[in-house]
């Protein structure tokens, strides 16, 4: 039955979507999944995406961040030793290796499984790729009765599988919401990536970016002078547009707020529209602020590869910048995993923040800043300015399931929506099982936002595209707001595969920017 459905689908999709078959340099042609009239859990198709894997990091990239340049000779031994080390350092890994009962509650929760039907994209099966090695080398049952408990030796085939499937996980934690023991596949994926890095088998995309942030200060590798140019250009554009002098201060000592934002906000569309929004909010509220050329990046790919020290070193630039500039507050721009690192990890990694103003949360999300100003009546809006938009909101996974905003659980869902409804008239939520803590990843998070993984990105976006499509048809929604640089970049690329306009996606502060009243304060 599975095959017949598969073939029919294949036939229909090649007929209907032939024009969307886009072949990239790095990836073979593939079919965009079809959006059905209601979501369907696919029947498993073993090996459906076993051919997908990102480029392996070449020697210079590995070397630059202190990892072995290529697969080391005694890699099995090293990998097992590393696994033992991590089992001793992370309670999550130790507990999650033991506690899974194979109940299958998570099996239909991963967007990559729903989009690819590859059973190894079921969270439990992805974890089992490591669990079967854990059992073989670290448990009584696996040492003496391997077949009984599905334990296997760590072979090159297993390593290849790891490399493939641990790069088809965006560490979005949707599975951890539904697991009766809270098993978080992200923890397992991070451990697997760290083990692979430690034996010289790293991923090019993430590791190259980590090298850039260490060398230059941001993921895009924008040097200081280029940043100055860009920010000046932005200020000029706004002046031409609105007649108001909006500043984009850089490295200003004594500013009240240090804004740490994803570097995509400086150069990419639609990201830059939100950067303009933050600047307008600070301007309208009369808050002095600055960016930092030393810490010109909120993103922290150290998290994606599960490396505590990388994550800490990248974060340290923020602390250095805050101390150097003598700011009183740190505010973080629209970025999902960056907010997770900032909210959940900064205090651990680079705290305590006793040198900052304790009347404000440290760090503070830009949405918390804006929402607070709105609630206090400090900002005025012309909501009609957004009347051409019928808006929905995509909860970004790391914001939704790995952080908080405001002082109540779930504030991360309430605050961005409250901002949107304060600056625009038309807002609708997507289906309840696709938002809030059940939100679907955009498909490009966790170090997967690279062209060599385009097929898994497009297929992984299916559940979100389905939810969006229903709303487009039901409510004529034409704009999906989100607060994550990766979501914005991913959707810009992926929306057209599903027949949507790429400009449908944008930031919450892009909407704020459109409606905010300037100068009359």
């Amino acid at each position: 039955m599975g095959n017949r459905i598969g073939k029919t689908q294949l036939a229909q999709s090649s007929a209907n979507y032939i024009q969307r078959k886009i072949s990239y340099m790095a990836t073979a042609a593939f079919d965009t999944p079809q959006i059905k009239s209601y979501p369907v859990i696919p029947l498993v198709q073993a090996g459906a995406t076993s051919h997908l894997k990102p480029f392996v990091a070449p020697a210079p990239i590995q070397k630059a961040i202190g990892f072995p340049e290529e697969l080391v000779e005694n890699w099995q031994e090293k990998a097992i030793a590393k696994m033992g080390e991590l089992l001793g350092k992370y309670r999550s890994l130790q507990v999650y290796m033991d506690t899974c009962v194979h109940c299958g509650a998570c099996s239909d929760k991963c967007h990559y499984f729903l989009g690819t039907a590859d059973p190894k994209n079921m969270p439990v099966a992805r974890q089992d790729l490591m669990r079967k090695i854990y059992r073989r080398y670290f448990t009584f049952a696996g040492k003496y009765f391997p077949k009984l408990v599905g334990a296997v030796d760590l072979t090159k085939e297993v390593l290849d599988e790891w490399y493939s499937y641990y790069h088809q996980c965006s560490e979005c934690r949707r599975c951890s919401v539904f697991c009766p023991y809270g098993i978080d596949t992200a923890e397992v994926t991070m451990a697997a990536r760290e083990i692979m890095d430690s034996i010289g088998h790293g991923q090019k995309y993430s590791n190259e970016i980590i090298g850039k942030v260490h060398r230059i200060g941001n993921n895009l590798g924008i040097p200081g002078p280029a940043l100055v140019d860009t920010l000046e250009g932005l200020a000029e554009d706004i002046k031409d547009d609105t007649g108001v002098d909006i500043k984009f201060p850089l490295d200003v000592k004594g500013a009240e707020v240090l804004l740490i934002t994803p570097s995509a906000d400086f150069f990419s569309e639609p990201h830059v529209e939100s950067l303009i929004g933050y600047a307008k909010v600070f301007h309208a509220a009369g808050i002095s602020w600055t960016l930092s050329s030393h810490a010109s990046e909120a993103g922290n790919f150290g998290m994606f590869i599960g490396n505590y020290e990388q994550m800490r070193n990248i974060s340290m630039r923020v602390k250095e910048a805050a101390l150097e500039l003598g700011v009183k507050r740190i505010v973080v721009g629209e970025c999902g995993h960056a907010w997770r690192v900032a909210y959940s990890f900064w205090n651990t990694l680079i705290g305590p923040f006793d040198y900052l103003d304790q009347r404000y949360p440290v760090p503070q999300h830009i949405c918390e800043v804006t929402d607070d100003l709105i609630q206090r009546g400090a900002l005025q809006f012309d909501k009609e300015a957004n009347d051409n938009k019928i808006i929905t909101f995509h909860d970004s996974c790391n914001v939704a399931r790995a952080s908080r905003m405001g002082n109540m659980p779930g504030g991360q869902f309430i605050i961005p929506r409250r901002i949107i409804t304060s600056v625009a008239n038309h807002f609708y939520d997507m289906a309840p099982n696709t938002i809030h803590e059940s939100t679907f990843c955009c498909g490009g998070g966790g170090g997967l936002l690279t062209d060599d993984l385009m097929e898994v990105r497009v297929k992984g976006a299916l559940p979100r595209m389905e939810a969006l499509k229903y709303l487009v048809e039901d409510r004529q929604v034409n704009f999906m707001a989100t607060i994550c640089a990766i979501c914005k970049a991913q959707f810009t690329k992926v929306l057209p595969y599903y027949g949507f306009n790429m400009s449908m996606v944008g930031g919450v502060h892009q909407l704020v920017s459109k409606a905010i009243r300037l100068g009359d304060k």
Binding site: G2, I41, V44, L87, K89, Y90, R91, S92, V95, D98, T99, C100, H102, C103, G104, A105, C106, S107, D108, P119, M122, V124, A125, D128, T139, F140, A141, K147, L148, V149, G150, V177, F178, C179, P180, Y181, G182, I183, D184, E187, Y308, E309, R312, Y343, S344, F345, N347, T348, P352, P363, R401, A402, S403, R404, N407, P409, G410, Q412, F413, E437
Partner: protein, 244 residues
């Protein structure tokens, strides 16, 4: 004293040591392994008592499983709840006089036993019928269900088919606890039942049954969402700070 009694007494002592020491060692490992980062799955409680309530809902009602799969929840929760009732019913073999609550639970325990076996069949059926669950099932996943079903059926058989001398069984069990061995009846059904229970006790600390202690140590469930308010740092991460 028959050889049979001595063998079973020895097996019970051995299995008890395995179970207690094995689980204690695992719990020690879990407790001693640091959780270096704050990773509660949010929205998460902001206070310790909130976390206690979240954990209680998880352990008593299987809240997350309820959210994810209704059929699995029905079978899984029924199995665990009835296992609890059946275990309470069995406490009468280990105490003299029997506590009132245990007396009261006796009749419920019978129905619970039947429901337990039914729920176990439901769980096993999923392993065959749902293609995703079939894919992830290992031989041990099937065998543990077979083991539990066999324990349940052999237990029910002693109630409904071939009665055993429960007075003698109770004397044997009390004897075990008082290190004063008493003869064990040699009914085949009883021996099967006890052998399987001994097996279950032995595999507990080396199998997925560790989910029972494990859930209490799951950082996504047992951490307070207070990362900004309280600095959380592990022992090995502190070492890292001193180095730099």
């Amino acid at each position: 004293m028959s050889l049979l009694t001595i063998i079973y007494a020895a097996l019970f002592y051995l299995a008890t040591v395995f179970l207690v020491v094995g689980v204690a060692l695992k719990i020690r490992t879990y407790a001693k392994t640091p959780a270096p980062l704050k990773i509660p799955t949010t929205p998460a409680p902001l206070t310790k008592s909130g976390v206690g309530w979240r954990m209680a809902r998880e352990v008593v009602f299987f809240e997350s499983l309820f959210k994810s799969s209704l059929w699995t929840w029905i079978f899984g929760w029924t199995f665990h709840a009835t296992l609890f009732a059946v275990t309470l019913r069995h406490l009468r073999y280990f105490q003299e006089p029997v506590w009132l609550p245990i007396v009261l639970v006796q009749s419920i325990g019978i129905y619970a036993g039947i429901a337990m076996v039914a729920a176990l069949f439901g769980l096993w059926a999923r392993r065959w019928l749902v293609d995703r669950v079939r894919y992830i099932s290992t031989p041990s996943d099937h065998l543990i269900l077979v083991l539990l079903i066999a324990i349940g059926i052999s237990g029910l058989a002693m109630k409904f088919v071939a009665h055993t001398d429960v007075i003698a069984v109770k004397l044997f069990m009390l004897g075990l606890m008082r290190f004063d061995l008493q003869p064990l009846p040699s009914d085949p059904v009883l021996l099967v039942h006890l052998t399987l229970v001994i097996l279950l006790m032995i595999i507990f600390p080396i199998s997925k049954l560790l989910h029972a202690p494990g859930i209490f140590f799951s950082p996504t469930r047992n951490q307070v969402d207070d990362a900004r308010e309280a600095r959380h740092i592990s022992s090995w991460a502190t070492g890292l700070e001193r180095r730099s």
